[in-house]
Protein backbone atom coordinates (compact mmCIF):
# COMPACT_ATOMS: atom_id res chain seq x y z
CA UNK A 1 0.00 0.00 0.00
CA UNK A 2 1.28 3.46 -0.87
CA UNK A 3 1.66 5.84 2.04
CA UNK A 4 -0.24 8.96 1.09
CA UNK A 5 0.49 12.50 2.16
CA UNK A 6 -1.78 13.68 5.00
CA UNK A 7 -5.21 14.60 3.62
CA UNK A 8 -5.79 18.22 2.73
CA UNK A 9 -8.38 19.82 4.99
CA UNK A 10 -8.22 23.35 3.67
CA UNK A 11 -11.34 25.03 2.34
CA UNK A 12 -12.11 28.37 0.72
CA UNK A 13 -15.14 30.28 1.87
CA UNK A 14 -16.14 33.73 0.75
CA UNK A 15 -12.59 34.41 -0.40
CA UNK A 16 -11.12 33.22 2.89
CA UNK A 17 -8.59 30.48 3.00
CA UNK A 18 -9.22 28.23 6.02
CA UNK A 19 -6.66 25.59 6.98
CA UNK A 20 -9.55 23.38 8.06
CA UNK A 21 -13.33 23.69 8.07
CA UNK A 22 -13.83 24.07 11.83
CA UNK A 23 -14.82 27.42 13.33
CA UNK A 24 -16.08 28.48 16.73
CA UNK A 25 -19.65 29.81 16.48
CA UNK A 26 -20.64 33.32 17.45
CA UNK A 27 -21.47 33.78 21.11
CA UNK A 28 -19.69 30.64 22.21
CA UNK A 29 -16.10 31.87 22.50
CA UNK A 30 -16.56 35.50 23.51
CA UNK A 31 -14.34 37.81 21.51
CA UNK A 32 -11.77 35.06 21.08
CA UNK A 33 -9.48 36.40 23.77
CA UNK A 34 -9.71 33.16 25.79
CA UNK A 35 -8.98 30.87 22.84
CA UNK A 36 -5.34 30.42 23.82
CA UNK A 37 -6.34 29.32 27.34
CA UNK A 38 -7.85 26.15 25.94
CA UNK A 39 -6.10 25.41 22.67
CA UNK A 40 -3.36 26.39 20.30
CA UNK A 41 -5.44 29.21 18.76
CA UNK A 42 -3.91 28.82 15.32
CA UNK A 43 -5.28 25.29 15.00
CA UNK A 44 -8.84 26.29 14.15
CA UNK A 45 -10.16 27.23 10.73
CA UNK A 46 -11.66 30.55 11.81
CA UNK A 47 -12.95 32.38 14.83
CA UNK A 48 -16.38 34.02 14.84
CA UNK A 49 -16.82 36.77 17.42
CA UNK A 50 -19.75 37.44 19.70
CA UNK A 51 -22.35 39.57 17.90
CA UNK A 52 -21.19 43.20 17.74
CA UNK A 53 -23.45 46.22 17.61
CA UNK A 54 -22.67 49.92 17.14
CA UNK A 55 -23.27 50.71 20.81
CA UNK A 56 -22.69 48.37 23.77
CA UNK A 57 -25.70 46.25 24.71
CA UNK A 58 -26.62 45.30 28.26
CA UNK A 59 -28.24 42.04 27.25
CA UNK A 60 -31.32 40.43 28.77
CA UNK A 61 -32.08 40.08 32.49
CA UNK A 62 -31.36 36.69 34.10
CA UNK A 63 -32.20 33.84 34.23
CA UNK A 64 -30.88 33.61 30.69
CA UNK A 65 -30.31 29.90 30.24
CA UNK A 66 -31.95 26.56 30.91
CA UNK A 67 -30.83 23.09 29.99
CA UNK A 68 -33.49 21.13 28.12
CA UNK A 69 -33.30 17.57 26.77
CA UNK A 70 -30.07 17.35 24.75
CA UNK A 71 -30.07 21.10 24.42
CA UNK A 72 -29.59 24.54 25.81
CA UNK A 73 -32.21 27.26 25.78
CA UNK A 74 -30.72 30.74 25.97
CA UNK A 75 -31.80 34.31 25.91
CA UNK A 76 -28.60 36.30 26.36
CA UNK A 77 -29.90 39.08 24.14
CA UNK A 78 -26.70 39.98 22.31
CA UNK A 79 -24.91 41.45 25.31
CA UNK A 80 -21.75 42.94 23.88
CA UNK A 81 -19.23 45.70 24.46
CA UNK A 82 -19.92 47.47 21.17
CA UNK A 83 -17.86 47.43 18.02
CA UNK A 84 -15.47 50.23 19.03
CA UNK A 85 -14.56 48.63 22.34
CA UNK A 86 -14.06 45.33 20.54
CA UNK A 87 -11.60 46.99 18.18
CA UNK A 88 -9.74 48.67 21.01
CA UNK A 89 -9.72 45.92 23.61
CA UNK A 90 -9.79 42.60 21.79
CA UNK A 91 -8.84 42.92 18.14
CA UNK A 92 -5.12 43.60 18.84
CA UNK A 93 -4.87 40.24 20.58
CA UNK A 94 -6.69 38.44 17.76
CA UNK A 95 -4.34 39.97 15.17
CA UNK A 96 -1.50 38.10 16.83
CA UNK A 97 -3.21 34.77 16.05
CA UNK A 98 -2.85 33.24 12.65
CA UNK A 99 -6.60 32.65 12.38
CA UNK A 100 -9.11 34.40 10.14
CA UNK A 101 -11.40 36.51 12.31
CA UNK A 102 -15.04 36.67 11.27
CA UNK A 103 -16.88 39.49 13.02
CA UNK A 104 -20.51 38.68 13.72
CA UNK A 105 -22.55 41.87 13.39
CA UNK A 106 -25.97 42.89 14.58
CA UNK A 107 -28.16 45.97 14.23
CA UNK A 108 -31.62 47.13 15.21
CA UNK A 109 -31.92 48.86 11.85
CA UNK A 110 -30.30 48.30 8.46
CA UNK A 111 -28.34 51.50 9.05
CA UNK A 112 -26.93 49.99 12.25
CA UNK A 113 -25.76 46.89 10.38
CA UNK A 114 -24.09 49.09 7.78
CA UNK A 115 -22.43 51.26 10.41
CA UNK A 116 -20.87 48.25 12.19
CA UNK A 117 -19.84 46.83 8.83
CA UNK A 118 -18.20 50.11 7.84
CA UNK A 119 -16.35 50.49 11.11
CA UNK A 120 -14.98 46.94 10.90
CA UNK A 121 -14.06 47.24 7.23
CA UNK A 122 -11.37 49.78 7.96
CA UNK A 123 -9.75 47.58 10.61
CA UNK A 124 -6.81 45.32 9.99
CA UNK A 125 -7.39 41.84 11.30
CA UNK A 126 -11.07 41.41 10.46
CA UNK A 127 -11.35 39.02 7.54
CA UNK A 128 -15.07 38.67 6.99
CA UNK A 129 -18.45 39.64 8.39
CA UNK A 130 -21.16 37.28 9.52
CA UNK A 131 -24.45 39.14 9.46
CA UNK A 132 -26.77 38.03 12.22
CA UNK A 133 -30.31 38.34 10.90
CA UNK A 134 -31.43 35.45 13.02
CA UNK A 135 -31.15 36.20 16.74
CA UNK A 136 -34.49 35.30 18.36
CA UNK A 137 -33.70 37.08 21.65
CA UNK A 138 -33.85 40.77 20.82
CA UNK A 139 -36.86 43.05 20.52
CA UNK A 140 -35.70 44.87 17.38
CA UNK A 141 -33.74 43.63 14.42
CA UNK A 142 -32.27 40.15 14.53
CA UNK A 143 -34.77 37.55 13.49
CA UNK A 144 -37.13 40.21 12.15
CA UNK A 145 -34.75 40.75 9.22
CA UNK A 146 -34.16 37.06 8.65
CA UNK A 147 -37.80 36.08 8.58
CA UNK A 148 -38.60 37.11 5.03
CA UNK A 149 -36.68 36.88 1.78
CA UNK A 150 -37.21 40.59 1.07
CA UNK A 151 -35.85 41.93 4.34
CA UNK A 152 -33.01 39.39 4.43
CA UNK A 153 -31.83 40.36 0.96
CA UNK A 154 -32.19 44.05 1.78
CA UNK A 155 -29.80 43.69 4.73
CA UNK A 156 -27.39 41.54 2.74
CA UNK A 157 -27.29 44.00 -0.13
CA UNK A 158 -26.79 47.08 2.06
CA UNK A 159 -24.08 45.47 4.19
CA UNK A 160 -22.35 44.28 1.05
CA UNK A 161 -22.32 47.84 -0.24
CA UNK A 162 -21.12 49.27 3.06
CA UNK A 163 -18.16 46.96 3.36
CA UNK A 164 -15.23 45.67 1.36
CA UNK A 165 -15.18 42.47 3.45
CA UNK A 166 -16.67 39.14 2.41
CA UNK A 167 -20.21 38.83 3.78
CA UNK A 168 -21.63 35.67 5.30
CA UNK A 169 -25.32 35.82 6.19
CA UNK A 170 -26.40 33.76 9.20
CA UNK A 171 -29.88 32.37 8.69
CA UNK A 172 -32.66 31.56 11.09
CA UNK A 173 -34.40 28.18 11.05
CA UNK A 174 -37.61 29.82 12.31
CA UNK A 175 -39.02 30.15 8.79
CA UNK A 176 -41.07 27.94 6.54
CA UNK A 177 -38.54 27.74 3.71
CA UNK A 178 -34.95 28.47 4.67
CA UNK A 179 -33.67 27.70 1.15
CA UNK A 180 -35.80 30.52 -0.24
CA UNK A 181 -34.13 32.99 2.15
CA UNK A 182 -30.71 31.58 1.26
CA UNK A 183 -31.41 32.09 -2.45
CA UNK A 184 -32.55 35.64 -1.79
CA UNK A 185 -29.38 36.62 0.07
CA UNK A 186 -27.23 34.93 -2.56
CA UNK A 187 -28.93 37.07 -5.19
CA UNK A 188 -28.35 40.13 -3.03
CA UNK A 189 -24.60 39.48 -3.12
CA UNK A 190 -23.86 37.40 -0.02
CA UNK A 191 -20.60 35.49 -0.35
CA UNK A 192 -21.74 32.60 1.87
CA UNK A 193 -24.53 31.57 4.22
CA UNK A 194 -24.23 30.04 7.67
CA UNK A 195 -27.03 28.04 9.27
CA UNK A 196 -28.73 27.45 11.55
CA UNK A 197 -29.08 29.95 14.34
CA UNK A 198 -31.11 28.74 17.33
CA UNK A 199 -34.66 27.45 17.13
CA UNK A 200 -37.16 29.36 19.24
CA UNK A 201 -38.23 27.43 22.30
CA UNK A 202 -39.61 27.66 25.80
CA UNK A 203 -39.43 25.89 29.14
CA UNK A 204 -41.73 26.21 32.13
CA UNK A 205 -41.34 25.45 35.84
CA UNK A 206 -44.59 23.65 36.67
CA UNK A 207 -44.27 24.34 40.42
CA UNK A 208 -44.05 28.11 40.10
CA UNK A 209 -45.83 28.17 36.69
CA UNK A 210 -43.19 30.61 35.55
CA UNK A 211 -41.05 30.35 32.44
CA UNK A 212 -37.49 29.23 33.22
CA UNK A 213 -36.18 32.20 31.24
CA UNK A 214 -36.86 35.77 32.27
CA UNK A 215 -37.43 36.59 28.60
CA UNK A 216 -40.07 33.80 28.49
CA UNK A 217 -38.83 32.34 25.20
CA UNK A 218 -35.30 31.66 24.04
CA UNK A 219 -33.19 30.03 21.36
CA UNK A 220 -32.54 26.30 21.47
CA UNK A 221 -29.12 24.93 20.59
CA UNK A 222 -27.20 21.71 21.12
CA UNK A 223 -27.63 18.13 19.87
CA UNK A 224 -31.43 18.46 20.10
CA UNK A 225 -31.44 20.64 16.97
CA UNK A 226 -28.83 18.75 14.96
CA UNK A 227 -31.14 16.72 12.70
CA UNK A 228 -33.08 19.87 11.87
CA UNK A 229 -29.87 21.76 11.10
CA UNK A 230 -28.57 18.93 8.97
CA UNK A 231 -31.80 18.81 6.96
CA UNK A 232 -31.70 22.57 6.39
CA UNK A 233 -28.05 22.57 5.29
CA UNK A 234 -28.94 19.77 2.88
CA UNK A 235 -31.85 21.78 1.46
CA UNK A 236 -29.89 25.02 1.15
CA UNK A 237 -26.84 23.36 -0.41
CA UNK A 238 -28.99 22.05 -3.25
CA UNK A 239 -30.38 25.51 -4.02
CA UNK A 240 -27.44 27.92 -3.78
CA UNK A 241 -24.07 28.24 -5.45
CA UNK A 242 -22.31 30.04 -2.62
CA UNK A 243 -20.63 28.08 0.21
CA UNK A 244 -22.78 26.89 3.09
CA UNK A 245 -21.48 26.82 6.66
CA UNK A 246 -23.21 24.20 8.81
CA UNK A 247 -24.11 24.93 12.43
CA UNK A 248 -26.32 23.08 14.90
CA UNK A 249 -25.47 20.74 17.75
CA UNK A 250 -22.11 19.54 16.44
CA UNK A 251 -20.47 17.78 19.39
CA UNK A 252 -17.75 15.68 17.73
CA UNK A 253 -16.02 14.86 14.46
CA UNK A 254 -18.75 12.47 13.29
CA UNK A 255 -21.36 15.20 13.61
CA UNK A 256 -19.15 17.64 11.70
CA UNK A 257 -18.49 15.10 8.92
CA UNK A 258 -22.23 14.55 8.43
CA UNK A 259 -22.64 18.29 7.79
CA UNK A 260 -19.79 18.23 5.27
CA UNK A 261 -21.35 15.26 3.48
CA UNK A 262 -24.70 17.02 3.05
CA UNK A 263 -22.95 20.04 1.57
CA UNK A 264 -21.42 22.27 4.24
CA UNK A 265 -18.04 23.64 3.20
CA UNK A 266 -17.27 24.36 6.82
CA UNK A 267 -18.88 23.97 10.23
CA UNK A 268 -19.22 26.01 13.38
CA UNK A 269 -18.98 24.56 16.86
CA UNK A 270 -21.25 26.24 19.39
CA UNK A 271 -22.77 24.63 22.47
CA UNK A 272 -20.02 21.98 22.53
CA UNK A 273 -17.52 24.70 23.51
CA UNK A 274 -19.47 25.17 26.72
CA UNK A 275 -19.02 21.53 27.66
CA UNK A 276 -15.37 21.25 26.63
CA UNK A 277 -13.72 24.48 25.52
CA UNK A 278 -10.93 22.38 23.98
CA UNK A 279 -13.33 20.41 21.75
CA UNK A 280 -12.55 22.20 18.45
CA UNK A 281 -9.00 20.75 18.01
CA UNK A 282 -10.38 17.30 18.85
CA UNK A 283 -12.96 17.65 16.08
CA UNK A 284 -10.25 18.74 13.64
CA UNK A 285 -8.09 15.71 14.50
CA UNK A 286 -11.18 13.49 14.15
CA UNK A 287 -11.93 14.84 10.66
CA UNK A 288 -8.31 14.28 9.61
CA UNK A 289 -8.37 10.65 10.78
CA UNK A 290 -11.69 10.05 9.03
CA UNK A 291 -10.25 11.35 5.76
CA UNK A 292 -7.11 9.24 6.19
CA UNK A 293 -9.07 6.12 7.15
CA UNK A 294 -11.37 6.47 4.16
CA UNK A 295 -8.59 7.17 1.69
CA UNK A 296 -9.86 10.67 0.98
CA UNK A 297 -6.95 12.86 -0.05
CA UNK A 298 -8.78 16.16 -0.11
CA UNK A 299 -11.70 17.29 2.00
CA UNK A 300 -13.31 18.77 -1.12
CA UNK A 301 -14.14 15.21 -2.18
CA UNK A 302 -16.23 14.85 0.96
CA UNK A 303 -18.19 18.11 0.77
CA UNK A 304 -21.63 17.50 -0.74
CA UNK A 305 -20.83 13.84 -1.39
CA UNK A 306 -24.14 12.54 -0.03
CA UNK A 307 -25.15 9.36 -1.79
CA UNK A 308 -28.83 9.05 -2.59
CA UNK A 309 -29.96 5.94 -4.39
Amino acid sequence: MIKNAPPSTSVRIAGLHLKNPVMTASGTFGYGEDLSTYMEPNCIGALVTKGLSVEPRLGNPPPRIMETPSGLLNSVGLQNIGVRNFIQEHLPKLRAYNVPVIANIYGETIDDYCKVAEILSSEKGVHALEVNISCPNVKCGGIAFGATADSASEVAQQVKQASRLPVIVKLTPNVSDIAEIACAVEKAGADAVSLINTIMGMSVDIETRRPHLKSITGGLSGPAIRPIALRMVYEVFRRVHIPVIGIGGIMNASDAIAFLIVGASAVQIGTANFIDPAVAPKIIVGIESYLANHGIGNIQELIGSLRID
Binding site: G27, T28, F29, G30, D34, T37, Y38, M39, E40, C43, K50, E55, P56, R57, L58, G59, N60, P61, P62, P63, R64, I65, M66, E67, P69, S70, G71, L72, N74, V76, Q79, N80, I81, G82, N85, G222, P223, M251, T271, N273, F274, I275, D276, P277, A278, P281, I284, V285
Partner: protein, 279 residues
Protein backbone atom coordinates in the same frame (compact mmCIF):
# COMPACT_ATOMS: atom_id res chain seq x y z
CA UNK B 1 -1.25 20.26 17.98
CA UNK B 2 -1.14 21.54 21.51
CA UNK B 3 -3.45 19.37 23.59
CA UNK B 4 -4.79 21.35 26.50
CA UNK B 5 -7.28 19.35 28.51
CA UNK B 6 -9.50 21.44 30.73
CA UNK B 7 -11.57 18.41 31.74
CA UNK B 8 -9.92 16.00 34.14
CA UNK B 9 -11.03 12.58 35.37
CA UNK B 10 -12.25 12.25 38.90
CA UNK B 11 -12.89 8.93 40.57
CA UNK B 12 -15.61 8.62 43.18
CA UNK B 13 -14.27 7.62 46.58
CA UNK B 14 -17.60 7.96 48.37
CA UNK B 15 -21.00 9.58 47.95
CA UNK B 16 -22.74 9.73 51.30
CA UNK B 17 -26.15 11.06 52.24
CA UNK B 18 -25.42 13.20 55.29
CA UNK B 19 -28.98 14.47 55.75
CA UNK B 20 -32.17 13.74 53.79
CA UNK B 21 -31.39 14.95 50.24
CA UNK B 22 -27.92 16.24 51.17
CA UNK B 23 -24.83 14.36 49.99
CA UNK B 24 -21.07 14.66 50.32
CA UNK B 25 -19.31 13.50 47.17
CA UNK B 26 -15.66 12.69 47.65
CA UNK B 27 -13.48 12.31 44.55
CA UNK B 28 -9.86 11.58 43.75
CA UNK B 29 -8.11 13.33 40.87
CA UNK B 30 -4.83 11.98 39.59
CA UNK B 31 -4.22 14.65 36.97
CA UNK B 32 -2.67 17.91 38.15
CA UNK B 33 -5.17 20.58 39.16
CA UNK B 34 -4.56 23.83 41.01
CA UNK B 35 -5.45 24.10 44.65
CA UNK B 36 -8.84 25.86 44.75
CA UNK B 37 -9.02 29.24 46.41
CA UNK B 38 -11.99 29.60 48.74
CA UNK B 39 -15.04 30.64 46.73
CA UNK B 40 -13.88 28.98 43.53
CA UNK B 41 -15.96 26.19 42.01
CA UNK B 42 -15.77 23.25 39.63
CA UNK B 43 -17.96 22.24 36.68
CA UNK B 44 -18.92 18.63 37.08
CA UNK B 45 -19.85 16.45 34.12
CA UNK B 46 -21.59 13.12 34.40
CA UNK B 47 -21.57 12.57 30.61
CA UNK B 48 -23.27 9.19 30.84
CA UNK B 49 -26.76 10.48 31.44
CA UNK B 50 -28.72 10.44 28.25
CA UNK B 51 -30.15 13.80 27.42
CA UNK B 52 -28.10 15.93 29.84
CA UNK B 53 -25.35 17.68 27.98
CA UNK B 54 -24.11 20.48 30.22
CA UNK B 55 -21.94 20.42 33.30
CA UNK B 56 -23.12 21.62 36.70
CA UNK B 57 -21.28 24.13 38.88
CA UNK B 58 -20.49 23.18 42.49
CA UNK B 59 -18.58 25.03 45.15
CA UNK B 60 -15.79 23.20 46.88
CA UNK B 61 -16.42 21.74 50.31
CA UNK B 62 -13.00 20.24 50.88
CA UNK B 63 -9.67 19.80 49.14
CA UNK B 64 -6.44 18.09 50.03
CA UNK B 65 -3.44 16.80 48.14
CA UNK B 66 -1.10 13.98 48.89
CA UNK B 67 1.72 12.62 46.68
CA UNK B 68 0.35 14.29 43.56
CA UNK B 69 -3.24 13.08 44.02
CA UNK B 70 -5.95 15.54 44.85
CA UNK B 71 -9.01 14.80 46.90
CA UNK B 72 -11.94 17.08 46.25
CA UNK B 73 -15.20 17.11 48.17
CA UNK B 74 -18.54 18.58 47.17
CA UNK B 75 -21.50 19.06 49.48
CA UNK B 76 -24.69 19.12 47.42
CA UNK B 77 -28.44 18.96 47.72
CA UNK B 78 -30.58 17.01 45.30
CA UNK B 79 -32.72 19.60 43.51
CA UNK B 80 -33.06 18.41 39.93
CA UNK B 81 -32.15 15.83 37.35
CA UNK B 82 -28.40 16.48 37.47
CA UNK B 83 -28.07 16.21 41.22
CA UNK B 84 -30.42 13.21 41.23
CA UNK B 85 -28.05 11.33 38.90
CA UNK B 86 -25.12 12.53 41.00
CA UNK B 87 -26.69 11.01 44.07
CA UNK B 88 -26.65 7.61 42.32
CA UNK B 89 -22.87 7.68 41.75
CA UNK B 90 -21.10 4.76 43.40
CA UNK B 91 -17.55 4.36 44.68
CA UNK B 92 -15.19 3.62 41.79
CA UNK B 93 -17.30 5.41 39.17
CA UNK B 94 -15.57 8.02 37.04
CA UNK B 95 -16.75 11.51 36.20
CA UNK B 96 -15.10 14.55 34.63
CA UNK B 97 -14.63 17.95 36.09
CA UNK B 98 -13.18 21.30 35.12
CA UNK B 99 -11.68 23.76 37.54
CA UNK B 100 -11.07 25.32 39.90
CA UNK B 101 -12.90 28.20 38.23
CA UNK B 102 -13.96 31.72 39.10
CA UNK B 103 -12.93 34.52 41.36
CA UNK B 104 -12.99 33.64 45.07
CA UNK B 105 -13.06 35.52 48.39
CA UNK B 106 -10.50 38.19 49.28
CA UNK B 107 -8.79 36.85 52.37
CA UNK B 108 -8.11 39.23 55.26
CA UNK B 109 -4.52 40.38 55.60
CA UNK B 110 -4.72 40.91 59.35
CA UNK B 111 -6.79 39.97 62.41
CA UNK B 112 -10.20 41.22 61.46
CA UNK B 113 -13.33 40.03 63.24
CA UNK B 114 -15.14 37.83 60.79
CA UNK B 115 -18.70 36.56 60.59
CA UNK B 116 -19.48 33.69 58.23
CA UNK B 117 -23.18 33.64 57.39
CA UNK B 118 -24.66 30.72 55.52
CA UNK B 119 -28.14 29.74 54.46
CA UNK B 120 -28.82 26.08 53.67
CA UNK B 121 -26.33 24.54 51.26
CA UNK B 122 -24.36 27.83 51.30
CA UNK B 123 -22.47 26.34 54.23
CA UNK B 124 -20.40 24.28 51.77
CA UNK B 125 -18.34 27.16 50.41
CA UNK B 126 -18.02 28.87 53.80
CA UNK B 127 -16.72 25.71 55.39
CA UNK B 128 -13.91 25.54 52.83
CA UNK B 129 -13.26 29.26 53.36
CA UNK B 130 -13.08 28.79 57.14
CA UNK B 131 -10.02 26.60 56.70
CA UNK B 132 -8.14 29.63 55.36
CA UNK B 133 -9.09 31.84 58.32
CA UNK B 134 -7.83 32.01 61.89
CA UNK B 135 -10.52 30.23 63.90
CA UNK B 136 -10.23 32.63 66.85
CA UNK B 137 -11.38 35.49 64.60
CA UNK B 138 -14.42 33.69 63.28
CA UNK B 139 -18.04 33.56 64.37
CA UNK B 140 -20.12 31.34 62.12
CA UNK B 141 -23.87 31.73 61.61
CA UNK B 142 -25.60 28.76 60.06
CA UNK B 143 -29.18 28.96 58.88
CA UNK B 144 -31.25 25.93 57.96
CA UNK B 145 -34.89 24.99 57.49
CA UNK B 146 -34.80 22.60 60.44
CA UNK B 147 -32.41 20.46 62.47
CA UNK B 148 -32.72 17.50 60.09
CA UNK B 149 -31.18 19.41 57.18
CA UNK B 150 -28.65 21.31 59.28
CA UNK B 151 -25.45 20.18 57.58
CA UNK B 152 -21.81 21.10 58.10
CA UNK B 153 -22.21 22.06 61.77
CA UNK B 154 -19.63 19.61 63.16
CA UNK B 155 -16.91 20.71 60.73
CA UNK B 156 -17.65 24.38 61.16
CA UNK B 157 -17.29 24.03 64.92
CA UNK B 158 -13.65 23.05 64.41
CA UNK B 159 -12.88 26.16 62.37
CA UNK B 160 -14.70 28.89 64.28
CA UNK B 161 -14.45 30.36 67.76
CA UNK B 162 -18.21 30.18 68.00
CA UNK B 163 -21.01 28.76 65.87
CA UNK B 164 -24.56 30.04 66.08
CA UNK B 165 -27.46 28.26 64.47
CA UNK B 166 -30.87 29.46 63.39
CA UNK B 167 -33.63 27.20 62.09
CA UNK B 168 -36.87 28.31 60.49
CA UNK B 169 -38.91 26.05 62.78
CA UNK B 170 -36.83 26.47 65.93
CA UNK B 171 -35.89 22.79 66.03
CA UNK B 172 -32.26 23.78 66.65
CA UNK B 173 -30.79 27.00 68.04
CA UNK B 174 -32.47 30.33 67.34
CA UNK B 175 -36.07 30.12 66.11
CA UNK B 176 -36.16 32.26 62.98
CA UNK B 177 -33.98 33.42 60.14
CA UNK B 178 -30.21 33.43 60.42
CA UNK B 179 -30.22 37.08 59.34
CA UNK B 180 -32.52 37.95 62.26
CA UNK B 181 -30.09 36.26 64.63
CA UNK B 182 -27.12 38.09 63.10
CA UNK B 183 -28.91 41.43 63.09
CA UNK B 184 -29.88 40.96 66.73
CA UNK B 185 -26.27 40.12 67.66
CA UNK B 186 -24.91 43.13 65.80
CA UNK B 187 -27.44 45.49 67.38
CA UNK B 188 -26.65 44.23 70.86
CA UNK B 189 -22.92 44.36 70.09
CA UNK B 190 -22.66 40.66 70.83
CA UNK B 191 -20.67 40.48 67.59
CA UNK B 192 -19.03 43.38 65.80
CA UNK B 193 -17.73 41.93 62.59
CA UNK B 194 -15.34 43.89 60.38
CA UNK B 195 -15.99 41.41 57.59
CA UNK B 196 -18.96 39.26 56.64
CA UNK B 197 -18.52 36.41 54.17
CA UNK B 198 -21.84 34.97 53.12
CA UNK B 199 -23.49 32.44 50.85
CA UNK B 200 -27.15 31.55 50.70
CA UNK B 201 -30.51 32.35 49.15
CA UNK B 202 -31.12 35.77 47.58
CA UNK B 203 -33.56 36.75 50.35
CA UNK B 204 -30.84 36.21 52.92
CA UNK B 205 -28.31 38.26 50.97
CA UNK B 206 -30.80 41.08 50.55
CA UNK B 207 -31.54 41.12 54.28
CA UNK B 208 -27.82 41.37 55.10
CA UNK B 209 -27.35 44.06 52.46
CA UNK B 210 -30.19 46.05 54.07
CA UNK B 211 -28.82 46.10 57.60
CA UNK B 212 -25.14 46.62 56.80
CA UNK B 213 -26.03 49.32 54.30
CA UNK B 214 -25.00 52.25 56.49
CA UNK B 215 -22.24 50.48 58.40
CA UNK B 216 -18.58 50.04 57.59
CA UNK B 217 -18.86 46.25 57.54
CA UNK B 218 -17.13 44.80 54.48
CA UNK B 219 -19.21 42.01 52.99
CA UNK B 220 -18.50 39.53 50.24
CA UNK B 221 -21.20 37.21 48.95
CA UNK B 222 -20.77 34.03 46.97
CA UNK B 223 -23.75 33.75 44.65
CA UNK B 224 -25.14 31.10 42.38
CA UNK B 225 -26.79 31.12 38.97
CA UNK B 226 -27.43 28.51 36.31
CA UNK B 227 -24.37 28.15 34.09
CA UNK B 228 -23.80 26.49 30.75
CA UNK B 229 -20.01 26.71 30.56
CA UNK B 230 -18.46 27.96 33.82
CA UNK B 231 -15.67 29.54 31.80
CA UNK B 232 -17.11 32.92 30.85
CA UNK B 233 -17.96 31.99 27.28
CA UNK B 234 -21.75 31.72 27.27
CA UNK B 235 -22.82 34.87 29.20
CA UNK B 236 -25.64 32.77 30.63
CA UNK B 237 -24.97 33.34 34.33
CA UNK B 238 -25.52 37.09 34.34
CA UNK B 239 -25.84 39.02 37.58
CA UNK B 240 -26.77 42.69 37.73
CA UNK B 241 -24.01 44.73 39.36
CA UNK B 242 -23.73 48.46 40.14
CA UNK B 243 -20.67 49.99 38.56
CA UNK B 244 -19.96 53.70 38.38
CA UNK B 245 -23.60 54.62 38.88
CA UNK B 246 -24.80 52.24 36.19
CA UNK B 247 -26.11 48.73 36.15
CA UNK B 248 -24.21 46.17 34.14
CA UNK B 249 -24.35 42.40 33.87
CA UNK B 250 -21.36 40.48 35.11
CA UNK B 251 -20.67 36.78 34.77
CA UNK B 252 -21.11 34.81 37.98
CA UNK B 253 -18.65 32.19 36.68
CA UNK B 254 -15.77 34.44 35.72
CA UNK B 255 -16.24 37.83 37.40
CA UNK B 256 -17.63 36.01 40.47
CA UNK B 257 -18.98 33.86 42.01
CA UNK B 258 -17.83 36.13 44.86
CA UNK B 259 -18.97 39.76 44.65
CA UNK B 260 -19.02 42.68 47.04
CA UNK B 261 -22.50 42.53 48.51
CA UNK B 262 -22.96 46.29 48.12
CA UNK B 263 -22.33 46.01 44.37
CA UNK B 264 -25.19 43.60 43.70
CA UNK B 265 -28.18 45.30 42.09
CA UNK B 266 -31.31 43.56 43.17
CA UNK B 267 -34.03 44.89 40.93
CA UNK B 268 -32.54 45.99 37.66
CA UNK B 269 -35.23 47.55 35.56
CA UNK B 270 -35.61 45.88 32.22
CA UNK B 271 -35.95 49.35 30.78
CA UNK B 272 -32.51 50.60 31.78
CA UNK B 273 -31.27 52.85 29.02
CA UNK B 274 -28.81 50.94 26.89
CA UNK B 275 -26.95 53.87 25.44
CA UNK B 276 -23.59 54.64 26.88
CA UNK B 277 -23.64 51.75 29.29
CA UNK B 278 -20.17 50.64 30.16
CA UNK B 279 -19.93 46.89 30.12
Amino acid sequence: MDEKQPLVNAQILSNTEVAPGYFVLSTEIKEPISKPLPGQFVMLHLFCKGDMVLGRPFSIYGFSRRSGRSKLKILYRVVGQGTYYMSLLKRGASIKLMGPLGHGFELPNRDYRIALVSGGIGVAVLHYLSRFLKASNVTAYLGAKNSTVLVGLDLMEKNAASVKVATDDGSYGFHGLVTELLHQDIQSNAVMPDIIYTCGPVGMLRAIAAFINRTSVYCEACIEERMACGTGLCLGCAVAVKEGGRIVYRRVCKDGPVFLLRDLAWDPSADDPLNGISI
